[in-house]
């Protein structure tokens, strides 16, 4: 395939995807679980890709993602709550001390920037640490951030440990898709640039990379800051999706979930992270819910074992099986591409159903 043809295909697919989403939204009732999964999946895809940039492409093992999402989410929420609602949101703090509201896109970017600034500051000392020590230090950092945001002395800004709400949210499923899509596209551009090649060199062998003239400290910090920026943006999106946020949501369990998504998708594969985030969210929120139904009958057979909580046990077993038997994840380090897809179907089935598989080509 020629380069122009490839681009046309890609653009065409993205347009088709957006149109399909748009049509679905007109046709289906807004309460359908499909939209819940698509919205949350798009947001998690962004944060998973941002984590993959660190863990998969630069080889920095960081577990601070939840902390950076918290920073993004709080910045977004604090800056966008309309002045009129502040009194009721900050009910224990006399309306808080911030009395303006920024437009949504600016606040989202501000959320990313705050996360990036914190990443820069924390990166100065901790990026010198090696592998697991870095992981535990960033995990600790996320916990510290969470405690600081719950501190009641900061209440006039953060509303203490209470919920933040009434900020602008999105209704259309297109919104998170477009925002995450742009962000992921930026990350892909970065990965394919000279910087991206330097990141991969660091991942493969630090010492060799240094010998080739790559400034380790600079590149590691760059990857860390950029990854945190996008984690911050996805935090802002998550706030929009949840409609209310609270520091206690951003626990280390959240980071583990994102890490699982990255690994299941394939460490070092952007499209893998996207696909697995949709699958992960769909399984945990939607497809397995019937397992919680105590009175499930197949014909007249009363299915045993089913009761609330069983869904999660099954889900955990599925994940364990994935980890043990598909170590490489869904995509390994490969990428899902139109070209690969085209060649694949060309070889196997001639030309049929190329379009259908392309529907899930996220962004």
């Amino acid at each position: 395939m020629s380069k122009t043809k490839k681009i046309t295909w890609n653009v065409g697919l993205i347009a088709a995807l957006l149109i399909i989403l748009f049509i679905l939204e007109q046709v289906l009732p807004s309460g359908s679980m499909l939209f819940t999964v698509l919205k949350k999946g798009a947001i998690y895809a962004l944060v998973a890709v941002s984590m993959n940039l660190l863990n998969g492409f630069t080889g920095l093992f960081s577990l601070g993602q939840a902390g950076f999402m918290l920073l993004g989410a709080y910045t977004y929420a604090i800056l966008t709550i309309p002045s009129a609602s502040r009194a009721s949101v900050y009910q224990y703090y006399n309306g808080g001390i911030i009395n303006f509201a920024l437009p949504v896109p600016i606040a989202l970017i501000a959320g990313g920037l705050v996360a990036a600034i914190f990443a820069f500051l924390i990166g100065l000392p901790v990026l010198r640490l090696k592998s697991d020590y870095l992981a535990i230090a960033t995990l600790g950092f996320a916990e510290i951030i969470r405690a600081v945001f719950q501190w009641d002395k900061l209440g006039p800004v953060t509303n203490g440990s209470n919920l933040l709400r009434s900020f602008p949210t999105f209704h259309s499923v297109l919104y998170p898709f477009i925002v995450s899509g742009i962000c992921i596209a930026l990350i892909v551009l970065l990965i394919n640039s000279t910087y991206g090649r330097a990141f991969k060199a660091i991942r493969d062998d630090e010492i060799a990379a240094e010998a080739m003239g790559i400034n380790l400290a600079h590149h590691k910090r760059l990857a860390f800051v950029i990854s945190s920026f996008f984690a911050g943006v996805s935090g802002g999106l998550l706030a929009m999706y949840q409609t209310t946020i609270q520091a206690s949501m951003f626990k280390s369990a959240m980071t583990y979930e994102i890490l699982l998504i990255v690994v299941i998708g394939g460490i070092g594969s952007v499209t893998g992270s996207c696909i697995s985030s949709f699958l992960f969210i769909a399984c945990s929120e939607w497809w397995l819910r019937f397992l919680d139904n105590e009175n499930l009958y197949i014909g007249s057979f009363h299915v045993p074992l089913l009761r609330p909580g069983f869904r999660k046990v099954v889900f955990a077993i599925v994940i364990m099986a994935m980890v043990l038997f598909y170590r490489q994840g869904i995509m390994g380090t490969r990428e899902f591409s139109v070209e690969g897809c085209y060649n694949f179907f060309q070889k196997r089935f001639g030309k049929k159903s190329v379009k259908k598989a392309g529907d899930t080509h996220e962004q």
Binding site: L139, E143, A147, K312, V323
Partner: protein, 294 residues
């Protein structure tokens, strides 16, 4: 005297929590020393041990229930290693760690399923649950027993590692995994033994912990587990005395923070301490300096 009776409870709570963290931390530090694996499931094994006693104590007398609980916990620890970690021995380290997170997820969700998500009341164990008075402070006997028992167990463990054959094998494996294999050490039995010791101590730790704090919930192991791991890193991962000292320091600091009224930060302080020590001394208080060969 007044000052003592006002502040002694904080210190005692700190020492006793420290002892409990220490027993969990040893499991982390030994496994990390040999496999270079952060065994995220260790805290959940600790929780499972708690649940086992809750359920076994309802059907059998305590003197059977406690040994049974310890044996079953050890079997679970052994099985987890065989099923979830051993097949991944040659895989990238990230895979094993994810497997550990997966096991942790599975154990928590199983516990959620079995308990229906409700907190289970831990049974009162005779004698150690009794209330006693020291220097005008009332507390449970377990508070005093914990540090003593911890130190006894640690001394036995250190002697075991120093003077027995399996101990020597463990030291060799933690020094150089591959070479020790070449030297004829049965690496699988060494790893299994490590897990057996680790889970045994976690089971004893859970006995002491839940006697003091009597609610067992599916996620109760997460925080103590994380803190015990921090203690292990703090003391220098791979070093048993380091883990014990780290655990006591963390337990005491945490309670001093609460005593000072900075309750919001009692958990965060632990992590702040960790980051500071890692920056100042990247391998922890007693860790050996690692050298990378090109």
């Amino acid at each position: 005297m007044d000052w003592i009776s006002r502040n002694l409870p904080y210190l005692m709570a700190g020492i006793s929590v420290g002892g409990q963290y220490a027993l969990i931390a040893i499991g982390y530090t030994m496994v990390y020393g040999i496999l270079r694996l952060i065994n995220f499931a260790h805290g959940d094994i600790f929780m499972v041990a708690g649940l086992l006693l809750v359920y076994s104590a309802t059907v059998m007398p305590m003197y059977i229930a406690i040994p049974l609980m310890i044996v079953v916990t050890v079997i679970i620890g052994f099985t987890v290693e065989r099923v979830a970690y051993k097949p991944l021995r040659s895989a990238p380290r990230m895979s094993i760690m994810i497997s550990a997170i997966g096991v942790s997820y599975l154990l928590q969700n199983l516990a959620l399923y079995v308990t229906g998500g409700l907190s289970q009341q831990y049974p009162a164990i005779p004698w150690i649950s009794d209330t006693i008075t020291i220097f005008g402070t009332t507390t449970k006997r377990v508070t005093v027993i914990t540090p003593i028992l911890t130190i006894i167990l640690v001394v036995i463990l250190v002697l075991l590692i120093k003077y027995t054959k399996i101990g020597m094998a463990m030291r060799a494996a933690s020094r150089d995994f591959e070479t020790s294999q070449l030297m004829g050490i049965k690496i699988n039995s060494v790893v299994s033994m490590t897990f057996v010791i680790g889970t045994f101590l976690a089971a004893v730790g859970s006995l002491l912990f839940f006697t003091n704090y009597t609610g067992v919930t599916p996620t109760v192991g997460a925080m103590p587990g994380l803190k015990a791991f921090v203690a292990a890193v703090f003391g220098g991962i791979g070093s048993i005395p380091g883990a014990v000292i780290g655990a006591f320091i963390i337990g005491i600091c945490e309670n001093i923070m609460k005593g000072l009224g900075l309750t919001t930060f009692s958990d965060a302080f632990t992590f702040a301490l960790l980051i500071i020590i890692l920056i100042a001394k990247p391998t922890g208080l007693f860790g050996e300096k690692a050298t990378d060969k090109v």
